[in-house]
């Protein structure tokens, strides 16, 4: 008797394992892989976006964290996923940086862009009691004392570290870069006065600036920030330099064009949803939509740019 039951169950399981007819996309929930641990900047904004996009897509959007290897683990897994539109990955600037630093199986070319969501500014912060009151004073001091100003960052070879290095070249100065294990420790270090400045991207450090403990000494954006309208960009002060951290969505290469269009439209609506806009504002995150073509071009350009930058740094070391 037991044998008969098992046989029936076995047959049933075989039937259920057979592929379903290709119905209208989406027929089940869509997963976004986040190659970093929960609670980070990327994780938060995409969780919020997933929450609002669900209703426009018709099926739930779920976030999965796959941390490890500075993002390599998550990107590799996403690259190997089936290009059927059910597995996406959040593409962040490190996608174009990492392949130049370690040998990875992927580059941005292994993915099809869907849209860009966020363009987070990067900036240098100093303590409010620091002796430099303006960018000019800061850079003058740096020029007279090369390698003396200690600039903390959230990790060697990471996004904000490279921003600091690129800024050095643009401004013609040399800093002493001190790596920390993440944004939190780097901001802690500057609060304690163990470094002179810190290179960050929001939300790191924002609440301390709002509380008056830290000051923005250099802002690397094209336009001033809404949150701090009195802070000048470095461009306004004569240095032609702007660099940010973009965060967008991509799918494994080969995903059908109509699936990408459906995903794109749904996520765009999710981005325009008032709940998301409020969430982003509260987190001091800068939403910036880019179409798939524009996003693809941005990734290609950054891949080139960071390739050159990383090579130069490797030569110096």
């Amino acid at each position: 008797m037991t044998k008969i039951i098992f046989a029936i169950l076995f047959l049933l399981s075989l039937i259920m394992a057979m592929p379903l007819q290709a119905a209208e996309f989406p027929t089940k929930e869509v997963q976004i892989i986040i190659p970093w641990a929960a609670g980070g900047a990327t994780d938060l904004i995409f969780r919020a976006l997933a929450a609002t996009t669900g209703k426009y897509l018709g099926k739930a959007v779920v976030v999965i964290n796959r941390p490890g290897g500075a993002g390599a683990v998550g990107f590799t897994e996403a690259m190997q996923a089936k290009p059927d539109g059910y597995t996406l990955v959040s593409a962040v600037t490190p996608l174009t940086i990492l392949p130049h630093q370690v040998s990875t199986a992927f580059t941005y070319k292994n993915f099809d862009p869907i849209l860009n969501v966020v363009d987070d500014p990067s900036m240098f912060l100093v303590r409010s009691d620091a002796p430099w009151k303006s960018l000019k004073e800061f850079l003058d001091y740096a020029k007279k004392n090369p390698n003396m100003i200690k600039v903390g960052n959230s990790g060697a070879g990471g996004g904000v570290h490279l921003v600091a290095l690129a800024f050095e070249r643009a401004a013609g100065v040399k800093f002493n870069h001190i790596p920390f294990s993440g944004g939190g420790p780097s901001v802690t270090a500057i609060l304690g006065g163990h470094v002179n400045a810190v290179s960050v991207s929001p939300p790191e450090g924002i609440s301390q600036v709002q509380a008056g403990k830290l000051r923005i000494i250099a802002l690397f954006t094209e336009k001033r920030l809404d949150l701090f309208p009195d802070v000048q960009t470095v461009k306004e002060q004569g240095i032609d330099f702007a660099m940010g951290m973009w965060r967008g969505l991509v799918a494994p290469k080969g995903t059908p064009a109509d699936v990408i269009k459906k995903l794109h439209d749904a996520f765009k609506q999710g981005m325009e949803d008032p709940a998301l806009i409020k969430n982003a504002k509260d987190m001091a995150v800068n939403l910036r939509y880019l179409s798939p073509e524009a996003f693809g071009k941005l990734m290609a350009a950054d891949h080139e740019f960071y390739g050159k930058l990383v090579k130069e740094i490797k030569k110096l070391n």
């Binding site: 609670g39 994780d43 490890g68 630093q101 002493n176």
Partner: protein
Amino acid sequence: MFESFQHLINGFGIATTIQNLSYCLIGAIVGTVIGVLPGIGPIAGIALLIPATFGLNATSAIIMLAGIYYGAMYGGSTTSILLNVPGETASVITCIDGYQMAQKGRAGQALAICAIGSFIAGTFGIFGLVFLAPPLAEAALAFGPPEYFSLMVFGFIVLSNVTGTSLIKSLMMSVLGLIIGTIGIDPVTGDPRFTFGSVPLLGGIEFVAVAIGLFGIGEVLTNVEKPLGTLDEKVLVPRLRDLYPSLQDLKKSLGAILRGTGIGFGVGLIPGPAPVIATYASYMTEKRISKHPGEFGKGAIEGVAGPESANNSACQAAFIPLFVLGIPFAPPTAILLGALLIHGVNPGPMMIGQHPELFWGVIASMYIGNFVLLLLNLPFVPLFANILRIPKKILLPLVILFCITGMYTVNNSVFDIWMMLLFGGLGFTMRKWAYEGAPLLLALVLGPKLEVAFRQSLMISHGDFGTFVNRPVSLIFLIATILFLIVPVLRLLFKKGGR
């Protein structure tokens, strides 16, 4: 001061609404379950339940998530005591004496003293949080890379031989832990180390995998090796009356609990997996202070009371950097930070001023939560102790199942599971040849931090080694380390001379 008190009363008002009380209860229960299941820790629990909090207001959400965090700390000791399998990484030390107590039929006393100790630690911790938070946060900021380095050196030397068996073997395990800790991306240059081209290894070996593998899977395998008959064994479960600690037990433990609370609170301010380090520190302290050091390792109740209290109070202390500075020092608080941000609260120096009802509401609810957990755990002691009635041949496979699922929830990584099994095999081999796993775990936790702090210090000082001795706090720790090493030797010399 008076204002703080008034805020606290308001906080209690907020925390005792039916809504918030139920969220607190849910969080505490879920946290306890998560803590009891080996492998799954508070990180996974909090992360999984964040979406459930989307519809709630910020205060209720944080009340529930915080409940999960300290609930897990309460629950973690249960499997440590009953099965010698740590419920979560900070409960590794509890296994040592807790399991021995269970073997002697004193499982109930061990479980109860854990609940009581955690409650006392939690209560003191909350007062510490309320009154000492700002100055402690400032003190934590004053710790720069050189101070961390010297502190790590001190911790490393003092805590390495925590179980006191062969020094050489402990040192060997420490070195092994250090080596394993180097696998991954070099924190200063970004180059991969010892990864052999493997992508998952780029992130290093997950420390939860090592802890659960060495102690959890290792324990299961050790049991499996025993003759078939013993798998049907059940430990004799004593009567209800005998399940709770005697007055003498309580007297003995009180000192350990208070010391553990203090140690845990201080250590909890260190970034990283501080609760684990706190338990090691408390165990060492109790062993050194005790008039019967020989009892440790064989079921000394102080060896359970101290570390469990330290664990809980380190947890409370972890909230200080989060609420006062807006910076999370440990993974669970990092996730809470995320939850706060999603709910539109920007933690940081302004949070207490801008959202007093959140801060004080959560503090008050922590106190209530601790109380609730005590009430939950004490009556359940007989129930938990009855788990021992289950024949091992059913219990052990279940443990493995929970370890594997729990491991997966940390990083969603199958690679981690393989690592855990690998270390399980290692743990089994180590036990056969009397090598301790505790020093290995400690080195795995402290080693990378020590290295980073050392290199950061030298980068900041442009290569000047004097930075470690020119700064007072760093110098103090280094001197303490040297004294710790020299004093026993001096004592020996003087004794010989005296004769």
